[in-house]
Amino acid sequence: MNKWLTVEKLSKNFGGVKALDEFSCHFEQGEVVGLIGPNGAGKTTFFNVLGGMLEADSGSAQLNKKKLTSIPAHRIANMGIARTFQKLRLIRQVSVLENVMLSFRNQSGENLVSLVIRWSKVRTQESENYDKALTILKRVGLQEKAGDLADTLSYGQQKLLTLACCIASDADLLLLDEPLAGVSPSMIEIVLEKLRELKNEGKTIVVIEHNLEAIMDDFDRVIFMDSGRKICEGKPDEIRNDPRVIEAYLK
């Protein structure tokens, strides 16, 4: 088991509900993997456990041979994992630009001590980050909105902004929870294009998505889960025709 990211027998219960039931899987660097399954299958819970937002009842996850389970969420994020949320999360009362600037990791100006003793370093880094943030916003086509409050963006633009935040984090592993849900068809194209760009840069991307028509062909591999378990996995075409998947989506 020397995959880049391995997940072994993760379990998570909510009261009586088994949201994750000995869920195991693995990811290689540079893959784009689809995580699909009916509502309540435990997909979001998987992201939450992986990201440290929830503690697993049992099981383990390892990134690059380093243990992910039972370490604090912020440290997991700093190990090179960025994520978006199904219920969109942004800092709505600050500007679009500041949301991106928040996402840069290891800023010396975020430390109270270096804020005092390394004043000039903080200043130069801040202005570099400012430029980088603008570049990223340009890349996702939000440069004109840079100064607006994040709250004033349309829903699709907000999703793009969360993607921009993931880009700014410079993480190797991106966990995207339903990036296309509620996004207009024209915007879907933009999001997909950005995904392909990120794949070409060598990022590993795990995507939870229901809109399979739009995104299925971009997946290298698809994992289908239901009731907290992995039912099957394979190439998109195999999954499309798998009777278990068809049945689950019909019922």
């Binding site: 440290g52 912020h74 994520r83 949320f85 009362q93 928040l102 800023q107 804020l115």
Partner: protein, 291 residues
């Protein structure tokens, strides 16, 4: 004239108190009900040191800052790692208990009798004794305090504080050590109260525990909220309005005994009204307290 200067000095003290609270509550979203207790710790430190050890003002001030910081850590570290609920309780308990210790530890603090005759400060040979002297000291301290607040809130650090106020989970997912930020800003807020604490002690030259009650904490909170939480100038405006108010009440001829209660009823009521109809206060950001 002296009366006017007195009012200005009081305003300055409350500007510092509510601005430091603003860092904790307005920017980071953690309501601390212990601010008057920290203020008291700072004030008592300066008073006891200058009375018993006869150390110079600056030394006392530095010690007060450090001791306030230590108490901030004692309250913050156990409670902020877990849930905000626990923090509110711990801060509240600290407020009540700090008062009770100041009030009951008679051998050290003289209890409700208070400590009289606190010497006036001497800064590098500048003997601060007249009203204008104290006003200048107040202005200097206020400027320092507001500069610190400004610097903090307009930095990447301050940006994270606001992110924590708006959405802790999101801040975590961006790799921010939320508990660490909360603890550090709380300790910082506690340390800043040593400034007004030292000023008040030496200016009035007498302190007793009644200046550091829960009611005082609520007063500081009201200043911040009514002025506008999460804005640098909000607490300044709030302090001006709420400190002037009782003076106006006195001006219209309300007897002192009633005026004290009326003042508190007014700002307590204003707090409730703000929450129901205008959470942003006078100049606050529209949504600091909204969903």
């Amino acid at each position: 004239m002296d009366y006017l200067i007195h009012i200005l000095i009081l305003i300055g003290i409350y500007v510092m108190l509510s601005s430091s609270l603003n860092l904790v509550a307005g920017y980071t979203g953690m309501l601390s009900i212990a601010h008057a207790a920290f203020y008291g710790v700072g004030a008592y430190t300066v008073a006891l040191m200058s009375l018993n050890l006869h150390t110079p003002f600056l030394v006392n001030l530095v010690c007060a800052i450090i001791i306030c910081g230590i108490f901030g850590a004692v309250v913050g570290i156990p409670s902020l790692r877990i849930k905000d609920d626990y923090f509110i309780i711990a801060a509240f308990a600290f407020q009540i208990i700090a008062f009770s210790v100041m009030n009951n530890w008679v051998s050290f603090t003289k209890g409700p009798m208070g400590l009289p005759g606190i010497p006036q400060p001497n800064l590098f040979g500048w003997k601060i004794s007249s009203y204008p002297d104290f006003l200048l000291l107040t202005v200097i301290m206020c400027v320092v305090c507001l500069l610190i607040c400004w610097r903090i809130t307009h930095s990447p650090y301050g940006r994270v504080l606001q992110a924590i106020r708006e959405d802790e989970t999101f801040a975590l997912s961006l790799g921010k050590n939320v508990a660490g930020y909360k603890i550090s800003v709380f300790v910082l807020g506690a340390m800043l109260t040593a400034l007004p604490g030292a000023l008040y002690t030496t200016y009035i030259s007498y302190i007793d525990p009644s200046s550091f009650t829960v009611d005082e904490s609520i007063f500081i909170i009201s200043i911040m909220i009514i002025g506008g939480a999460g804005r640098l100038w909000g607490p300044v405006l709030g302090a001006v309005v709420l400190v002037m108010l009782p003076e106006l009440l006195r001006f219209v001829g309300m007897p002192n005994s009633i005026a004290a209660n009326m003042r508190q009823i007014f700002y307590g009521g204003a707090l409730v009204v703000c929450m129901l109809w205008r959470p942003q206060g006078l100049v606050g950001k529209a949504d600091v307290l909204r969903k």
